[in-house]
């Protein structure tokens, strides 16, 4: 009952005309960046972070939530019509969706994607509504050692899950942790790793790192690799809308996708990609028409699209309740909270209920706005792709300049943008994941504070780190995350080698 009254209070915030306006802006922007290549929700929110200086927190977060969800809607559109997934979470949608579009069933694919996103987004938001306060209550019992263990788990799982190689994942993580140590130590006031430069005393700005690694790195990469490639602008025409049979085949994948997506999104390194793979595999197995998979099966669009939207809601659970970001986008949202001097976590539900419940309520309205924006107007969004590529990337660089220069009009930030942009380019070429850098940068200093706090309380007794059941089990899981995948890979290699030997001998 309590949750319902809180939620109604949230709707009172979200339905204010000014907040509806921001939600609309966020949804439109999100859909646009979802359609356009090279820009994602994380980058868009990072570029808009300076706006937080002027807009009140509830409105800003309502806009950011619209961007988060909108990018997923927009990403599915390009996957289906052009076979170019705008976001990593839409890769699976392209498989079946583009086949459907080629058979003249594009409109049906778009409809099942949009409605599936709406259903899953709503289911995920419902789960968030009722779960988040409970988890936040739980977090009240967390001591510093528990928080430290939670962050260690977050570090290892991000480094393991995001990268295709353990070493590269951890290299990215430690790079981020190293950047996080630059500046004044908050506990003793000592300067660390500033190399005699006054501008670095405040540390390296999260926005600069994110914008440089993503936007500049991507621009340099695409320029060097695909500058001459012609823009593939040949959107397929729509065709017929969903038939009764399409509805019958879609609703179960929508719900199953939601059920898969939400919990995985809520894990410390869930993200939106893995649920889409799982959902696709599941639908393929359960389908009554397995022969259609690979030829344009509607289940293969409905399931993964639902899964990635539900996962987006799931990502908000650890972020809002524990202050724990699990994806690049969540890390930016955490940075936005910090810009307002707010720390997401259990206290926030008590101190800023209007903000949090307004944000949650706006997820419901945002989904509805997105459904309206995307179903009838899909043709307009696809037009965005008619903008020549060199203008898109030129524009990305100009807005990256706005984001970086607008922070504090500091020349050092511009120099950092250049240097980190080059590093982002190298990371792109050699397949280093970016998300661990961001998580390391934003969580590293917090993990250090918790560790030092725990050790100070225990009088330098390191056993305190496994002193509570929560911290001990979290650290154990972190160790398992680290050890199990290489072990499995090793066993598989041994098995393969054994077979080879047997074949060679026989």
């Amino acid at each position: 009952m309590d949750i319902l009254t809180q939620l109604i209070g949230g709707f009172a915030v979200a339905l204010q005309p000014i907040n509806l306006f921001w939600a609309f802006i966020g949804c439109a922007l999100g859909t646009a960046v979802g359609v356009l290549p090279g820009i994602g929700p994380a980058l868009t929110i990072a570029l808009l972070l300076p706006v937080t200086a002027q807009v009140n927190p509830a409105s800003a977060f309502i806009m950011f939530a619209g961007i988060l969800y909108g990018a997923l809607y927009g990403g599915s559109t390009t996957s289906i019509l052009l076979n170019t997934p705008g976001e990593s979470g839409s890769v699976m949608t392209a498989l079946e969706g583009n086949r459907m579009a080629r058979k003249g069933r594009g409109a049906a694919a778009l409809a099942t994607a949009a409605i599936g996103s709406f259903v899953a987004g709503t289911v995920g938001t419902l789960a968030l509504t009722f779960l988040a306060p409970a988890i936040a209550e739980l977090a009240f019992v967390f001591g510093p050692e528990d928080y430290f263990a939670l962050m260690v788990l977050s570090f290892t799982s991000v480094a393991v899950v995001m990268g295709r190689s353990l070493v590269r994942g951890f290299a990215a993580l430690f790079f981020g942790l190293a950047l996080g140590t630059i500046g004044i130590d908050t506990q003793t006031g000592q300067t660390r790793m500033v190399f005699g430069m006054l501008e670095l005393l405040d540390g390296v700005s999260f926005t600069v790192v994110l914008v440089s690694l993503f936007a500049i790195g991507e621009t340099l990469y695409v320029a060097s690799r695909h500058a001459s490639a012609p823009a593939a602008i040949n959107p397929l025409s729509g065709g017929h809308w969903m038939t009764r049979q399409d509805w019958a085949r879609s609703w179960k994948p929508w719900l199953r996708g939601s059920v898969i997506g939400f919990p995985i999104g809520a894990l410390p390194a869930g993200g939106t990609e893995i649920p889409t793979f799982l959902s696709y595999a599941l639908e393929r197995r359960l389908s009554k028409h397995p022969e259609e998979f690979g030829q344009g099966a509607i289940e293969g669009v409905a399931g993964p699209e639902a899964a990635n939207n539900a996962a987006a809601a799931g990502i908000l659970v650890p972020l809002l309740t524990l202050g724990l970001p699990s994806t690049a986008t969540a890390a930016v949202l955490l940075a936005a909270f910090q810009n307002y001097g707010l720390q997401p976590g259990p206290m926030l539900f008590a101190t800023n209920p209007d903000l949090l419940w307004g944000l949650i309520a706006s997820l419901y309205t945002g989904n509805l706005i997105l459904l309206i924006l995307n179903l009838p107007l899909v043709g307009i969004w696809v037009r965005l792709l008619l903008i020549p590529r060199h203008y898109i990337y030129g524009g990305i660089v100009v807005f990256a300049l706005v984001g970086v220069w607008g922070l504090s009009t500091s020349w050092m930030d511009l120099a950092l943008m250049c240097g980190l942009g080059l590093i982002g380019y190298v990371a792109r070429v050699y397949d280093f994941p970016i998300a661990p850098v961001l998580i390391g940068l934003i969580l590293g200093p917090q993990a250090e504070i918790q560790l030092r706090r725990a050790l100070a309380v225990s009088q330098d007794d390191w056993s305190v780190l496994v002193g509570t059941p929560i911290s001990a089990s979290l650290l154990a899981i972190a160790a398992l995350v680290l050890i199990v995948p290489p072990l499995l890979a090793y066993r598989r290699r041994q098995a393969a080698l054994g077979k080879e030997r047997a074949a060679a001998a026989g």
Partner: protein, 163 residues
Amino acid sequence: MPIAEEAPPRERRSKPWWLGLALAVMGALWLNGARGIASTTNYIGLGPAAIVLAVGLGLVVLGVLLILQALRGDFRAVDDEAEAPPSRAAFLLALAGVAIPLLTMRWLGFPLTAMLAFALVTHGFGSRRTALDLAIGFVLGTIAWFGFSRLGISLGGFLPLLG
């Protein structure tokens, strides 16, 4: 274990050992930096140097591991097998667009800098309509300057040279 004979010899196959080296050097920098941080000998807990030391150690170890992986050929550029080699000219033009603000931002202000950066990047992407690109870049920069100024975000003077 990957067996060397399995991989066909490839002309352009890169061995990016320098990447691991760069990481290890960064780690060494951090290790050295940790020495310079005066340890306020608190009677309890960790000092401010401890985490810097740990991060430096981690970077050195990961750097060495990366070097070993690179020399074994376990990892290389993602598009080593791509048909077209990367275009250095396009890359340098785009990089110039990113670097030009370092020179001009404080003298020419945001709109003109945005104009130059925009034109350089679009040329990196193969556009050759210089006048049009400059015009679009200037308009974009000016709109951004006015728009964000109204939101209360300072992007510096419009044209600092004029004061």
